[in-house]
């Protein structure tokens, strides 16, 4: 019974780790920074509507760039 509960908790934690961080920790980090900035910049009407999308764009393009296949490296089927 106890072992089953521990297994369940471990599987639950594993699911959320994979879901939130997985092999793209930079996207998780970007999300954390973005949420922090959203609160920090909420009084600055211009900065928030420019900075938040910009940060998301930089995170997306940077992460995709990091995931590209470079000459001479192995092609990972599901990275």
């Amino acid at each position: 019974m106890t072992a089953a509960v521990v297994r369940g908790i471990r599987a639950f934690g594993h699911f959320w780790w994979d879901f939130l961080v997985g092999d793209t920790p930079e996207l998780f980090l970007a999300m954390v920074v973005l949420v922090g900035l959203a609160f920090a910049l909420r009084t600055d009407r211009t900065a928030d509507i420019v900075v938040l999308p910009l940060l998301a764009i930089v995170a997306l393009v940077g992460s995709a760039w990091r995931g590209r296949v470079r000459p001479g490296t192995r092609h990972d089927a599901d990275r």
Binding site: T24, L27, V35, I49, L60, S63, D78
Partner: protein, 260 residues
């Protein structure tokens, strides 16, 4: 286009993608281990997922302040959307193998057939594989339904859109009797990723107290911005792609897990 319509489209698209992937596994389980166990496994997983939506989504709507809820689900949608978009960009630019339902079907069927023959009784392997396939693929849909539905107090509409997608995919799958390998999965995933990212960003801002110009009208604008960025990123990465010269890569996913 209102935010509700975009919400329904996002849920419908996400659910179509995951339903196609789940159907592939259920078909493999059904044809190799018997339909009774595969259908029972699928039904059991759908019931568990439905209970999750009710058990988690309804209390979220009633007891969590809307601003806190929007920051929380906005952050979740942002991670999920960016992750889907990243994967779609890499696939479209030839840096990542495309999802191949035919290969996954053959692989799952071969793996199940190796377990030996089954009679007419219930088959544990067929039940377990169908349950796992539907449950894992469905978990992301549950998260999307709860996130999008709870943030706009439209949980019923979001669940209905997800249900409609499942019915559509299963009906088409039954009619063509195959695993829907023709569905342009990467295109759908790209569109849904753009919508999830836009919703996520919008709600993180809204929840934190940011005043988007035009309120809900900012969502279509964000969608347009991320569509342009995605197209630009694909074009940029295509110039770097070794696969383009080699004619593209088509390697099936082999982990059997739900891919974000």
């Amino acid at each position: 286009m209102s935010a509700t319509v975009i919400l329904m489209l996002a849920v419908f698209g996400a659910c179509c993608v995951e339903a196609v992937e789940a159907l592939t596994i259920v078909l493999a389980a059904g044809t190799t281990r018997g339909w009774r166990s595969a259908l029972e496994g699928s039904a059991a997983a759908l019931v568990v997922l439905g209970v999750l939506v009710g058990a988690v989504g309804v209390p979220l709507i009633h007891y969590v302040p809307i601003d806190a809820l929007r920051v929380l689900v906005g952050a979740l949608l942002l991670v999920l959307g960016l992750s889907w978009l990243r994967k779609a960009i890499l696939r479209a630019s030839g840096h990542k193998a495309k999802h191949d339902e035919d290969a996954i079907y053959k692989e799952t069927a071969a793996s199940l057939a190796a377990h030996g023959s089954t009679g007419r009784r219930r088959d544990a392997a067929g039940f377990a594989v169908a349950f796992k396939g539907v449950f894992l693929e469905g978990m992301e849909v549950v998260l999307i339904v709860i996130s999008l539905g709870a943030s706009q107090h439209k949980l019923g509409d979001a669940a209905a859109a997800a249900g409609a997608a499942v019915v559509l995919v299963v009906t088409v799958g039954a009619l063509v009797a195959r695993q829907l390998s023709e569905v342009p999965e990467n295109t759908i995933k790209t569109l849904v990723g753009i919508m999830l990212t836009s919703f996520g960003l919008f709600w993180v801002g809204e929840g934190a107290g940011v005043h988007w110009p035009g309120s809900d009208l900012a969502i279509p604008v964000l969608i347009g911005v991320f569509a342009l960025v995605t197209a630009g990123a694909v074009a940029l990465l295509k110039t770097q792609s070794p696969a383009v010269a080699a004619g593209g890569l088509h390697v099936p996913r082999t982990d059997g897990q739900a891919a974000p």
